[in-house]
């Protein structure tokens, strides 16, 4: 089972254009900021929005093509929205079996399937409950069961975990991972949370301003981000420049010493934890030393994330103790250092 999509659609001022394939059993994450066009793409896949141009096909069955549009209700798909959107007037079991009912499955078979799916998502005995009686996590589980009960060829998940609180999100994410592992069809997951993408997807497509800016495995995207947005998401400072042997001359000015020889346009990526801060310029040791000004500081667990402005903009994680000992306040002048070996460098 393969989903093939080439989509072009105009939404207000945003031109959305993307092409991707999702194999059977594969999970593709569309990762990007709000308003990037991810949800538009998934609405096109669902048949809720007609593309201006392009082609959507599943296993050779064409869903969208020029002059051809299969409406949502005739597509073999299941969709889970950010808010569970369980029909408030129906019991949980009737919600789960809704898709079977519209497809003409008999009452007995419907009840059996609904009960089975409720058990699979850990909601046994809640079939008679009303949606309002469920917690957020339970509702999202029921919504997943409702989408999967029809055994669709394509599963679309539109920010399925964003509405959940942090703790519930952890559990539901783990369960979702298990269900996606069992699902034989193609899954498209829309998310703005890199953790969801990394934890659930086999491949990640990064969408910004309506187009794909990067595609790869979660590991690739995580280690070698190609845009500032992704770099910030995965907690890296991304510096664009030109490789000149063991140095990278940055586009924005400044030079970064690196451990590998490179040439041509490259990215240099710096992890916040590899940046050290000093009040006086440190001497010796062959490493990068830059003057910087502290522009922002946010506590982040036991560390403080410091945003630095200067010739080389960086993000540094220092321990709360060190932060206090250095007496750092926003506006403070500091020296930032990074070992050459800790700068990842890769071609643009």
């Amino acid at each position: 089972m393969t989903l093939q999509a080439r989509i072009q659609v105009q939404r207000g001022t945003l031109a959305v254009s993307a092409a991707f394939d999702v194999g059977g059993g594969e999970v593709l994450a569309l990762l990007g900021p709000n308003g990037a066009g991810k949800s538009t793409l998934v609405r096109v896949l669902a048949g809720l929005l007609r593309p201006d141009e392009g082609r959507v096909a599943v296993d050779g069955a064409v869903w969208d093509a020029p002059g051809w549009h299969v409406p949502a209700h005739e597509r073999s798909l299941g969709m889970v929205f950010q808010d569970a959107l369980l029909f408030p007037h129906l019991s949980i079991a009737d919600n789960v079996s809704f898709g079977l009912r519209t497809r003409g499955v008999g009452r007995q078979a419907r009840h059996a399937t609904a009960a089975e799916w409720l058990a699979r998502v850990g909601l046994e005995g809640l079939g008679h409950a009303r949606p309002a009686e469920l917690s957020g996590g339970q509702a999202q589980r029921a919504a997943l069961a409702r989408a999967l009960a029809v055994e669709p060829a394509v599963l679309l998940l539109d920010e399925p975990l964003s509405a959940l609180d942090a703790r519930t999100r952890l559990t539901v994410r783990a369960e979702l991972r298990r269900h996606l592992g069992d699902f034989p069809g193609s899954t498209v997951l829309v998310t703005h949370d890199p953790v969801d993408a990394m934890a659930l997807a086999d491949r990640v497509v990064v969408v910004e301003d309506g187009r794909i800016v990067q595609a790869g495995t979660p590991d690739e995207v995580n280690r070698r981000p190609r845009t500032d947005y992704v770099a910030r998401l995965v907690g890296l400072s991304l510096l664009a420049g030109t490789g000149e042997g063991r140095a990278v001359r940055l586009d924005g000015g400044g030079v970064v010493a690196v451990a590998e020889e490179t040439s041509g346009p490259v990215f240099a990526a710096v992890r916040p934890e590899s940046v050290a801060l000093y009040l006086a310029r440190p001497e010796g040791s062959p490493r990068n030393v830059w003057p910087a000004r502290l522009t922002g500081a946010t506590p982040h667990g036991a560390t403080v994330r410091c945003e630095l402005a200067g010739e080389v903009p960086l993000v540094a994680d220092v321990t709360a103790t060190a932060f206090a000992e250095l007496g750092l306040v926003p506006g403070a002048e500091v020296w930032a250092t990074v070992k050459a070996a800790e700068v990842a460098v890769y071609a643009r």
């Binding site: 809720l48 209700h73 798909l77 898709g99």
Partner: protein, 282 residues
């Protein structure tokens, strides 16, 4: 954007309550007069009611007949309005028909039109010499004016817009994402309407139906113009009240009292929407 700490929020709410306690005189006086203006006539009705003979008056043959006819016609008009008005409201709220604004304006004309004018208009179309009426008469020998059917039609004409407006509002307020969900679960538009949209807006439909029914029950102008005032076939309660006032005012008072009771019962049915607890849940 950070939310203000709870303390400051409480303090602000408290401040608002303090200013709310003192209503400025230029507002208070007209407000009190307004309440008096609305309530006094009803009190007058209660005061002047000949309580000793209420039972007797109600038992008079014409009263029961008029009441039964009123309830029957208002109910039929409401059913007809539901049958035609709910789909119309859906078209106004959901479809992308051209001229939708014009359509809505046309639909709401009966709301502002003097009912007598409505009655005249109905007469010109459905009367024996009317545009459709003459054809009905020639082809099927059907005449509508001055029949119970005419009462139902006149009441529907006047009352249906209340239902349409109410249901359209409910449809617009309803979350259309539920309809998207239904579509992704294989439901076509008609199935979605029956199984999802209609149940979701049921409270709005109910409120609209009650409003429509109350309006139909009190209909006077269009009814007397188009259907006449024949006891047993077209004389509804409001017509009976008007007629009684000429000859036996006591009977008119008792009949009015019945209509007042029905109105209050209607208000009671709608209290969740319009009084106090309004608008919290659909």
């Amino acid at each position: 954007m950070t939310a203000p700490p709870p303390d400051s929020r409480r303090a602000r709410a408290g401040g608002r309550r303090r200013t709310g306690a003192g209503v400025p005189a230029p507002l208070l006086v007209p407000a009190v007069l307004g309440v008096a203006f609305l309530v006094l006539p009803l009190l007058g009705l209660l005061v002047r009611t000949p309580w000793s003979s209420v039972g007797e008056q109600l038992a008079a043959p014409g009263v029961g007949q008029a009441l039964r006819l009123s309830l029957l016609c208002a109910t039929l008009a409401t059913l007809l309005s539901l049958f035609l008005g709910v789909p119309l409201a859906w078209v106004l709220a959901r479809s992308s028909v051209r001229w939708r604004g014009v359509l809505r304006a046309l639909v709401t004309v009966p709301l502002v039109l003097p009912p007598v004018v409505g009655g005249v208009a109905l007469f010109l179309v459905l009367g024996r010499k009317g545009l459709i009426g003459s054809w009905l008469d020639e082809a099927f020998g059907i005449t509508i004016p001055f029949t119970t059917t005419a009462v139902v039609i006149a009441e529907t004409f006047v009352a249906m817009p209340f239902l349409v407006i109410s249901v359209e509002g409910a449809l617009r307020a309803a979350d259309t994402r539920f309809e998207d969900v239904a579509a992704t679960l294989g439901a076509g538009r008609w199935t979605t309407f029956r199984r999802v949209t209609l149940p979701l807006v049921a409270p709005g439909v109910g409120a609209g139906a009650v409003l429509c029914w109350a309006r139909a029950l009190g209909e006077f102008g269009a009814t007397i113009t188009f259907a006449g005032n024949y006891p047993g076939t077209t004389q509804t309660m409001p017509l009976a009240v008007y007629l009684a006032l000429q000859n036996e005012p006591e009977a008119a008072i008792v009949l009015s009292l019945v209509l007042l009771a029905v109105s209050l019962a209607t208000l009671l049915l709608l209290r969740d929407r319009w009084l106090g607890r309004s608008g919290t849940t659909l």
